[in-house]
Symmetry: C2
Subunit: 337 residues, 2 copies
Amino acid sequence: MGNITLKMLAKELNLSTAAISKALKDSHEISAVTKLRVQALANQLNYIPNPYAGSLRQRKSKTIAVVIPEVADSFFSLALNGIESVAIEKGYHALIYLTHEKIAREKAILKDLQSGRVDGVLMSVTVETESAGHISELIGKVPLVFFDRVCEEIDTAKVTTDDYESAYNATNHLIEQGCKNIILLSISNNLSISSKRMEGYKQSLVDHGIKHRRSNIILCGNDPVKNYALIKKIMTRAPRPDGILATVEKLTTEIYLVCQLLQIKIPGDLKVVCFSNLTTAAILNPSLTTVTQPAFEMGKAAATILFKALEKKNAKLSKESQVIPSVLSLRNSSAGI
Amino acid sequence: MGNITLKMLAKELNLSTAAISKALKDSHEISAVTKLRVQALANQLNYIPNPYAGSLRQRKSKTIAVVIPEVADSFFSLALNGIESVAIEKGYHALIYLTHEKIAREKAILKDLQSGRVDGVLMSVTVETESAGHISELIGKVPLVFFDRVCEEIDTAKVTTDDYESAYNATNHLIEQGCKNIILLSISNNLSISSKRMEGYKQSLVDHGIKHRRSNIILCGNDPVKNYALIKKIMTRAPRPDGILATVEKLTTEIYLVCQLLQIKIPGDLKVVCFSNLTTAAILNPSLTTVTQPAFEMGKAAATILFKALEKKNAKLSKESQVIPSVLSLRNSSAGI
């Protein structure tokens, strides 16, 4: 009987939901007789008030949730700063939930958010997110804006960067620097951003008349030890790769350590470009050429869109999508000799 | 009149608070007459039920809060992983709140947590936290465990690392490598960890018969541009410093960039040790000697203590403090020539 709603009580008694709500709160605006009628029916039907419903309707939780895979990646820590720059201005708390790239965690978190704990959600999906049922379910109840890692099939606002173009440009750059055998290191076959980066990489090879080899696209995981072993295996292949485009920041350390071990010189023997917002990119040995994503700006844009929806009734979130371009920051790891 | 509590109703009617609660929820366990008496008094006194009270008492929110200054620092991202490794096992959500080193944010967050939104709190205070009134207020309502940055005056569990000893050992190491004019870069005069690191640094100088100069202790801030300018100024002093102990990870990039600009060779002209958990420490130019903190273990230990308290009534949190030692990881930035 937990499903009795204010609306049902209102219909039964031919009153507004607001009147029911006020009656249950013993408001002075409601007559004693009406209060008794409402209370009697509520008792009869065993109506259990949703403790969050009031705050939900009035947007009183004054909190938003940010659901992201991790914070060790500087893209996400910068995006969080962008999100909070808006949330703080609006007097909101941002609750950060980490999925650790696990779909089971993501589902549990989204279920928890259905309770009305927060007024809105900003989200980047996990590498395991293939279906979107759990997201659709939440969207009916709480406005949600994707940033970076989006679910294409869900009709809501999305803030992304130009993943296809930036991978295309980065691969062009490696080819122009003399690379002929370029490895693409990816972390997912599902993620929208991974697919787009892969397409950009492939198109650049095609446009330069370089045959694309499937064995040059490598799927890495979350375990640094396994990634290290995988990269080591690739770098002992014959013919040895002469370029790497890594689509995720955390692979940088393993690439550099493998090259130290195998005495492969960067950029002499191998040129490297990473999608990365590492502040240490400029002080690595050698300094790292990066696809620098507009992380702060993306977080800020996503939060701005969400608050627009929170402040306006029936705002159409799907019409608010934005693409903010990344920048190729040239440093020594891809320099010509 | 929002201060009428279940307890007051119970006293007035000579019933237990449990009976009052059940009566207000129209429980079958309570007689119709009692229900009417309770409801009448509740109406008369305008009793407003606390929507979170039920979940608080029953520990049903199944969430804990983690209140930390930032996530861009790898100490905190690793500590979060340690915390979540425990929370997930216990079936809990961890909500992460960022203070961005602002005391006003910290106060606002702790006030929000008083509502009973979470069952427990893990916390590292801001650089601005001087008084602890806002923390004491929360502690009466929700169990709280400090990790890393603690409030000494608050009587609750604290998980820390050996800040004094690790700064002492790091300074000893720099002196043994030949440094005579060592700068300490700090970020706070208030933080317990900063004071302890400073004391360890000073004691090492004393023990080696090196005169401590106040001008060698430098207070940095949150703005990388200002920190860069500050470090540049210090590195153009005569006589030029020959060693730096940085008590916070984020200063690494500025130290290295200043040395690049001024053509100061690390470790030839300047030896550097940082408190840092950067995964890129080993691939910097040169690789960085670090005080490596047991970040994951500290997060895990703090969460373990908190859940022990959540599972036991009246657990004495103050008796559960732990100190987990850091490790000095020697690399090239402090090598002898």
